[in-house]
């Protein structure tokens, strides 16, 4: 069983939800990045999304845009991200998903991307601007079906028929975009998200992780009962931005991971199951 499937089945047995964390490689510096991400993994992150910065991140809000800009200034590239993945793989066993836009991957070379990602110990890739219609040229190099996942996105605007199609080609988990907007934007509507999860469940048996716009443990707590995992990105990046060179940044991030993980735990009382 691959690391992603294994992780979700372990969590299921424990009755827990996955905390998926996004961090940009090389933010605030390449050297700090390894230390910070390692601390987050050790603090209880279940799945890591390793962000490879792109110069033109059209699906990201200001927080992740600035993170990408800092990382690029550091000279972060996909090659560096592969090295980082290898280094992290020596320190942690959690699934690592490479997260980027298509152009850096396309420029790297699609075949080498697959081989190098596997060799580095990555478990999959999520490409924000690669809809399933255009993804064949990427996955045609993937020899085995099960060792590397293309994490597919479903949006609130995705019609049911299209959802079905996306789900049919997905593996690992499905990433449900919680709202129509860029990453880190506010105005989460838990009722809407719940409805989208219900729709998506009717077309897939894969785990569903929800992300974009979940900024506080309170948001996470509200959505956790309905999803299999929650993705946090901008909230971590905001912490990095606010404490760039602070000596306790690693501790702060670790504490934040623990807070989110705590929020994902089911409450002992039954009343959380009631309609809100």
């Amino acid at each position: 069983m691959n690391r992603l499937d294994k992780k979700f089945s372990e969590l299921k047995i424990k009755g827990e939800k996955a905390l998926v964390g996004f961090v940009a490689v090389g933010d605030p510096t390449l050297r700090d990045s390894l230390r910070l991400i390692t601390a987050m993994c050790r603090a209880g992150l279940d799945i890591l999304e390793l962000g490879i910065p792109f110069s033109d991140p059209t699906a990201d809000g200001p927080v992740i845009q600035r993170a990408a800009a800092r990382a690029l200034k550091e000279g972060t590239s996909l090659t560096r991200a592969m090295e980082m993945t290898k280094a992290l793989r020596e320190r942690t066993d959690i699934p690592i998903i490479l997260f980027s836009y298509y152009n850096p991957i396309f420029a790297y070379g699609l075949e080498s991307f697959y081989r190098d990602s596997l060799a580095a110990g990555a478990d999959g890739v999520l490409i924000v601007d690669l809809p399933h219609e255009e993804s064949r040229e990427l996955t045609e190099y993937w020899e085995k079906a099960n060792d590397f996942s293309l994490i597919r996105l479903v949006a609130p605007t995705t019609p049911k028929e299209r959802m079905k199609h996306i789900a049919a080609h997905a593996s690992g988990f499905l990433y449900l975009v919680s709202k129509t907007g860029v990453t880190g934007s506010g105005g989460l509507d838990a009722g809407d998200v719940r409805n989208h999860i219900v729709d998506l469940r009717s077309v897939t048996r894969l785990p569903i992780c929800v992300g974009f716009g979940i900024s506080t443990p309170e948001d996470a707590k509200i959505l956790a009962p309905h999803a299999d995992g929650i993705v946090i990105g901008s909230a971590f990046e905001r912490t990095i931005e606010e404490h760039l060179s602070g000596p306790d940044l690693a501790n702060r991030l670790a504490e934040q991971v623990k807070d989110f993980k705590e929020a994902l735990k089911p409450e002992p009382l039954k009343h959380t199951q009631k309609q809100r």
Partner: protein, 412 residues
């Protein structure tokens, strides 16, 4: 009249792009999933509505009565004589309402948005011509309009910012990146991701995800169709060469398209900025490589890690590191030739046209004129070149006087 109908039929049967928006390896749709449903709906609506006779009729009427089409095809005799070679004709898109070809597309998309029931439109703009043309159409149709514009462009194209505001549009300054067209487009796409349910995004070039390259080309094809009719009427034959500037490439595509199946030579002129060797240019087709930017696969200016590079041109409308996918296809297939003209050459052409013909061209269009200055003298006198004079230069007077004052290289 019969000819026109024949052209239209050919236009409808054209197999490029394919159903998913591909021009060979170029084009397609590379966007966030949130936008996919909207793009598919837009494509379906466009294909259906644009074929409705009532829509065509309404658009044709607006193009004629409101925008002032057809625009003249003018034989630039003094310029031709001065160069002593080929005969040069200017397609006077500078004379259309709002002063550039951009209005052809914004009327089309604005009308489409109205037929689709959208009441809000957004746009990105570089030189401000597309922003003005979008703001104009928004005023005409009573729509709410937001235009995203880089802070650098707001500074260097101030008259157009004023015009957009007068027309009731909100101009949203974009200060990320270099504050130019690429950044404006990033921000417009981000905004659209959040507003996609009730807002139509009026992309101004033959770039972006499918169906934009197809749709914008179709709306701009009126330029080439008119040229074809006009030159046949005045000379009884097709021209030998068509020349147009290429940023994203909409005026060039609109001119070239009706001639693709003819032997007419097609030349796209990119901006070489302060020179290709300086690295500060916008010659995407000449110097770029295959990549994905702003929703489609095409040539882009990028580093070896796939990061998009900054473009540079004295002309804000050409200052873009990407290009429409159909141009990339035309380059690969050899059907069109792409060359580059630097800031100084464009400025020289700007002055030549002012003095010899009494026409103040946009700096974008000056690049196309500059190509003629270079090549026409060596061509036989019976060679006929049509240059798309895509816009007028009023908006550029500030840049020109800065340049004259010796600050040509310091305008960034």
């Amino acid at each position: 009249m019969q000819k026109q109908q024949k052209n239209e039929k050919r236009w409808l049967m054209e197999p490029m792009p394919d159903k998913a928006g591909h021009f060979g390896p170029h084009g397609g749709r590379y966007v966030a999933e949130t936008l996919m449903a909207a793009l598919i709906t837009l494509e379906e609506a466009y294909l259906k509505i644009s074929r409705e006779p009532a829509f065509r009729k309404e658009l044709d009427l607006l193009l004629a009565d409101y925008a002032g089409r057809p625009t003249p095809l003018y034989h630039a005799r003094r310029l031709s004589e001065h160069l002593g070679g080929a005969r040069i004709y200017l397609k006077r898109e500078d004379l259309v309402h709002t002063g550039a070809h951009k209005i052809n597309n914004t009327l089309g998309q604005g009308l489409l948005a109205r037929w689709m029931g959208k009441k809000k439109i957004i746009a990105e703009t570089g030189a401000g011509q597309h922003g003005v043309a979008t703001a104009t159409v928004a005023a005409l149709f009573g729509m709410e309009c937001r235009v995203f514009m880089g802070v650098e462009d707001i500074r260097r194209q101030a008259p157009n910012v004023h015009r957009m505001k007068l027309l009731g549009a909100e101009v949203v300054p974009v200060d990320s990146g270099t504050g130019t067209l690429k950044d404006a487009m990033n921000e417009a796409m981000r905004y659209w991701v959040g507003a996609v349910t009730d807002t139509h995004y009026v992309i101004g070039s033959v770039a972006g995800p499918h169906p934009y390259p197809l749709m914008v080309r179709d709306f701009q094809t009126v330029i080439g169709e008119e040229v074809r009719g006009q030159i046949l009427e005045s000379l009884g034959r097709l021209p030998d060469m068509l020349v147009a500037c290429v940023g994203g490439g909409s005026n060039a595509m609109g001119l070239f398209y009706p001639f693709l199946d003819t032997p007419v030579e097609l030349v796209g002129v990119e901006a070489a900025g302060t020179g290709i060797a300086s690295g500060k240019h916008a010659a995407t087709l000449c110097e770029g490589s295959l990549g994905v930017l702003h929703g489609s696969k095409s040539y882009v200016l990028q580093d070896r890690n796939g990061q998009i590079m900054e473009a540079h041109s004295i002309s804000a409308g050409l200052d873009y590191p990407g290009v429409g996918p159909e141009h990339s296809f035309l380059k690969d297939s050899g059907r069109a030739r792409y060359v580059s003209i630097d800031d100084d050459e464009a400025m020289e052409a700007f002055h030549a046209l002012c003095r010899l013909e009494g026409i103040i061209p946009a700096l974008e269009s000056s690049h196309a004129v500059a190509f003629c200055l270079k090549e026409a003298p060596a061509l036989p006198r019976d060679t006929v070149i049509v240059v798309n004079l895509s816009g007028r230069g009023d908006k550029d007077l500030g840049i020109v006087s800065d340049y004259e004052a010796g600050k040509g290289g310091a305008h960034r």
